[in-house]
Symmetry: C2
């Protein structure tokens, strides 16, 4: 009798919200010997490939629909969910703001806190974070005047990048090579941002970022914190090619150039689970470009090279943080390719 109660308490049922294309992540959890529960997936579209790998799946409204949270909470109750992992940047702040409603029904959010999520989604705040914590960042400006002054003072030189302060790297990005192009790109970028679904992120009047364009190798870095927000390790990859805004080919590299920065990020942001970040290299110096406090499209390159954050997260969810060990093999190259799954 005591035994069966113990087993019920140890069962992990994990909900992946906005599961989308990340079928590999569901497969990694399924393959983990530690895992003894059920995997539940939700998405706006029943044809999302990740749902095909889940033990149970639900087609849910848009994350912006007023019924969204209640729908997810109902699913959590029905499926006795114990932990929730979101795979959608836009959903993170919504979940974080409602953390108590989840904890009240026994669901732990594998998520950073609201302030950290906000910092990661705001590229200007990310730059300020880098400056405060001794992490190199590209020279950045919020106004055309301040950028032109910096150009005139030779503090920075063309090309510059103009991009929305919030949102993903591929949207509304302009490369600028001369003074006269700057103001027009800035105002076009601002209009496009305001017309987009990203507009709701705007927490300031300064909506557009002007940034030094660093040309060099790009690195993807996965940083693991346990469920107490304690840092355990980092896996570093050089990106070899991109496709649809995601890493398509990458090779694992030594973590030495990144380990101080990873510790700074992990101990200050205190995220839970994975935090995926991007660095650019120039003259042997690494510049922080972006922070994403969730499993990203580059995680499978970490996992396949032995950096098993899935096992680490399961250990933490089971209260066995002392057993977590993040290791990986350097010099392993992987490439993404397509497979087909039958839609639900």
């Amino acid at each position: 009798m005591l035994m069966s109660i113990f087993m019920v308490e140890c069962n992990l049922n994990i909900l992946f919200s906005c599961a989308g294309r990340r079928k590999y992540l569901i497969d990694y959890f399924k393959a983990e010997p530690l895992f003894n529960g059920r995997l539940i997936g939700t998405d706006m579209s029943r044809t999302a490939p990740a749902l095909a790998a889940c033990d149970a799946w639900y087609e849910v409204p848009s994350i912006y629909d007023e019924s969204y949270l209640d729908t997810v909470l109902d699913i959590c109750k029905k499926e006795a969910v114990t932990a929730l992992i979101s795979l959608n940047d836009m959903e993170l702040p919504i979940l974080a703001a409602n953390e108590k409603r989840f904890s009240d029904i026994g669901v732990r959010l594998v998520l950073a806190e609201s302030a950290a999520i906000e910092l990661c989604s705001d590229k200007w705040a990310t730059v300020q974070f880098g400056l405060e914590h001794n992490i190199p960042v590209p020279a950045s400006y919020l106004t055309v005047d301040s950028a032109l002054t910096a150009i005139a003072n030779h503090e920075v030189s063309y090309p510059l990048i103009v991009k929305p302060r919030w949102g993903s790297a591929s949207f509304g990005l302009y490369v600028i090579n001369a003074d006269h192009e700057l103001a027009e790109a800035f105002s076009t970028c601002k209009s496009e941002f305001l017309a987009s679904h990203l507009a709701k992120f705007a927490g300031s009047d300064d909506l557009v970022l002007i940034q030094e364009f660093i040309v060099g190798d790009e690195y993807g870095v996965d940083i693991f914190n346990d469920m107490q927000g304690k840092y355990h390790g980092v896996v570093c990859k050089k990106k070899l090619s991109m496709r649809s805004g995601e890493t398509d080919k990458a090779v694992t590299v030594n973590d030495a150039p990144f380990s101080y920065y990873a510790q700074q990020i992990a101990t200050n942001l205190k995220h839970k689970g994975n935090l995926d970040c991007d660095f650019l290299e120039r003259d042997n110096k690494m510049y922080l470009l972006e922070l994403n406090p969730r499993f990203g499209g580059g995680y499978p390159f970490t996992h396949e090279a032995g950096g098993n954050f899935v096992k680490a997260l399961l250990l933490s969810l089971l209260g066995r943080d002392n057993e977590i060990a993040i290791n990986y093999r350097v010099g392993e190259t992987f490439a993404k390719c397509d497979t087909l799954v039958a839609a639900r």
Copy 2:
């Protein structure tokens, strides 16, 4: 003794050139009980995922390098290749022009003839082909004047599409909503085309196509001809979403609206193996948009729904054309997702 000679003659060793990301195609051949040979892959990059599935693989120069053909011919000799399948549009005319060098060493090209390849790569020729063979096509013009006259005469209305006459759908495409935008887009498109790697396709001074913009459901249609260029059947899919210029989600549909057009295309172009084409639907009428005489990114949706062109092609290569039967299940939805392979 006689037996062993017979077996050697029946061995199919197939070379996939420019194998790229199409690992699924290699896997389909491997899984086919009929197949008794070896699969060889080539690519410019050793990290191409398809190479990971091949029995032998080679990193080769660019298809435009002067040593390219000799390199491929040497590989064919060394590996006793009996059939070659190219997965790169740009390579098709190069191979077709050198068909004899391959047949001289016993390699059969699974390929259309030069004239058909040229017709498929030239969107203006594709339109003329449609008009000649009773296949609806979008209204199309080679000059700004002829398009403006057609607009003035109400033969066509905005929006119009301006795009290069050769090349893939995603490159250098402009949507035009008013007379005054047309000339500028036309000249920008022309300059971009001439500055691109596509310029070598230009077989005429008319480099840019102005085309009616048909808004409606898009369909992918795979047409199978045997190695004698004889038509055997068609598989039709409605595209549900696209990603990086390829079909990402699709559902198989009844072939009735397409079967006459497929027969017209197959019997006139006499391609070998697969020909992948795109149609747009408006008011229950299907308009031919593009012809690609090769296995395309939409083929796995055909295969997974039972339209086994791989088996059909193997039967034809084995001289068993009379056993070919193209069938598929209608209403099956599939979605692409990512998996990782270790690079060679």
